[in-house]
Amino acid sequence: MSQIGVDQWVEQSDERRDRYSGWTAPARRAFDKLPTGWKLAVLLGAVAVYPLLVPQGEIRIGITVLLLAMLALGLNVVVGWAGLLDLGFVAFYGFGAYFYAIVASDQLPAHWPTWIAIPIIVAASALLGALLSLPSRRLVGDYLAIMTLFFAQIFVELVRNFGRLPFVSEDLDLTGGPNGIPGVEAWDLFGFQINSFKRHYYLLLILTVVLIAGLHNLNASRTGRAWRALREDTLAAEHMTTPVNKLKLLAFVVGAAIAGLAGSIFAAVQVGVFPNNFALPFLITIYAAVILGGSGSISGVVLGAVAIGYIPDA
């Protein structure tokens, strides 16, 4: 194809420059020339000005997309990296949402300050994740999927019928049964109320960016490599003295903590929580985002979340 001594890349540079045509061509050409960091900054800038340009309803869609992106990132740790088919993921989201709703509404009534509530919720979700990871020591593949699926089902059933449990008094109806918990308070960060769509959007955007950065580093770390080894072949990884059980635990814990955090924001955005928010169809939505984007890739699952979250509303 190319002559000896002439670099193919150099040879085709004219062709590449002419790849774009039309009135957007100069802008796209300029974008291509930017270093990676600047490209990211441009993208981030576009996402950051988005709520300033669009009406309220559109910002709500943006919030949905960002929540879904956070969840997809969390699920990606468990499914995409560690390769554990966790169909109970939505329960952690529900747990975080219900936990926040219970401690930040008239339900108990307890009105914990947000800066205390959120760390506790994240820690509790992580603990629940650690608990769910215990069966993964023995169960593999589809059996793990089934078991976690039923964990999610039990969560919804429990939430729906909590007040009727035999050992709980009628007055202590923590979850409000099928009616859910209305009137959840907004986040209050040291006096700054996250009470509008725009503020929620920026809160989520900041958290998502931090999350992406953190996960990117985690994926490049020793742990990330070990997770991938686990995913490709658990048995082989174990023979190479990879601490398989510890890694499974860690994957579940990270995924659950992210889902719990997303849940607590969701409860505040929706100003209430209802059992059906955390049923099977939403789990499928998260999975769809992860799979559509390409499980295992951070940018992929974020794009998947954008597609899945945006299209039904647009």
């Binding site: 589809d142 039923f150 089902q153 048995l235 499928i284």
Partner: protein
């Protein structure tokens, strides 16, 4: 004692329907290693097919044909509709993804399930229908067992499903096609190399599993009356639990698991509370899986690096 017997009959009825459904899950899993989430919807369409025949032939209060013929036609219609849907699903939702990643057909199954649910919603609306079986077969008719009298419909359900299970066992163990099914489920590639038409075996498996689900749908319609577009979800989940408890992929396991879940549900409803029957059933599943990770009858697979 009377109450206990009553619950036992309930459990047996429920359990035999769950067993029929669980067989479909288990057979498909055994061969494709696929969780066919749309199976519950196949069952729902079977129930609607039975309802359609019943309505066309005059309804339960004024049947145009003898009752035995009516019930036979209902079962036949359900078998035809369900197995058609089952085979179509296999052809269009699962076969194209057979060599894809493990999770792709799983998601496709969930999608097919939603699709069928929405289709049923559009076709039959959200109203629930009733078979009105007590008008077809009077509730007083029945066989006395000790202090209780078992309604004829329940007898019919229990006898039919046990007959079908025995026939299926014989078919799998004694016929040439049954042998092929076992071979494919044991090792698909090796079976293909021995000249077994794997595609055909898979189609036959879907056909039989879906036909059983259709029969189960009509049975549920006859015993419990209500038929609606969401009925497949919970029943499918229960049957799926049954298949897993029994050891998914194992045929006797599915039957045993179905009966176990049926009894667990009947006794929970009878002695504890109907609110928690699902919690107890799902809890049972988790406990069984923790103790026996491959289900009660599942075989340990050899794992190689």
């Amino acid at each position: 004692m009377e109450f206990f017997l009553q619950q036992t009959v309930n459990g047996l009825t429920l359990g035999s329907v769950y067993a029929l459904l669980a067989l479909g899950y288990s057979m498909v899993y055994g061969i494709l290693k696929l969780l066919n989430f749309a199976h519950g919807e196949v069952y729902m369409f079977g129930a609607f097919a039975g309802y359609g025949v019943l309505t066309v032939l005059g309804g339960a209060s004024a049947p145009l044909v003898p009752i035995w013929l009516m019930i036979l036609l209902m079962f036949l219609a359900a078998i035809v509709v369900s197995s058609t849907i089952g085979v179509t699903l296999e052809r269009f939702a699962y076969r194209p993804l057979r060599n894809s990643t493990r999770i792709a057909p799983l998601i496709s199954a969930v999608g097919a399930s939603f699709f069928l649910q929405a289709a049923a919603l559009l076709l039959f609306t959200a109203n629930s229908r009733t078979y009105d079986a007590p008008k077809l077969i009077a509730i007083q008719t029945g066989i006395p067992i000790g202090p209780i009298r078992v309604w004829m419909v329940r007898v019919l359900v229990i006898v039919t499903s046990f007959t079908l299970m025995i026939l299926l066992t014989l078919w799998v163990n004694r016929t040439r096609t049954g042998k092929a099914v076992r071979a494919v489920s044991y090792d698909r590639e090796a079976a293909a190399m021995m000249g077994i038409d794997v595609d055909k075996v898979i189609v036959v498996t879907f056909l039989i599993g879906s036909a059983l689900a259709g029969v189960g749908g009509v049975m549920v319609g006859l015993v419990f009356g209500r038929v609606f577009h969401l009925m497949g979800f919970v029943a499918g989940l229960k049957a799926f639990t049954a298949a897993v408890v029994g050891g998914i992929g194992s045929i006797p396991g599915a039957m045993f698991g179905g009966l176990l879940i049926g009894f667990a549900e009947a006794y929970t409803t009878g002695y504890l509370s109907s609110t928690f029957q699902n919690l107890i059933v799902f809890g049972l599943l988790i406990v069984v899986l923790l103790v026996r990770p491959r289900g009660l009858f599942g075989r340990q697979e050899l794992v190689k690096v």
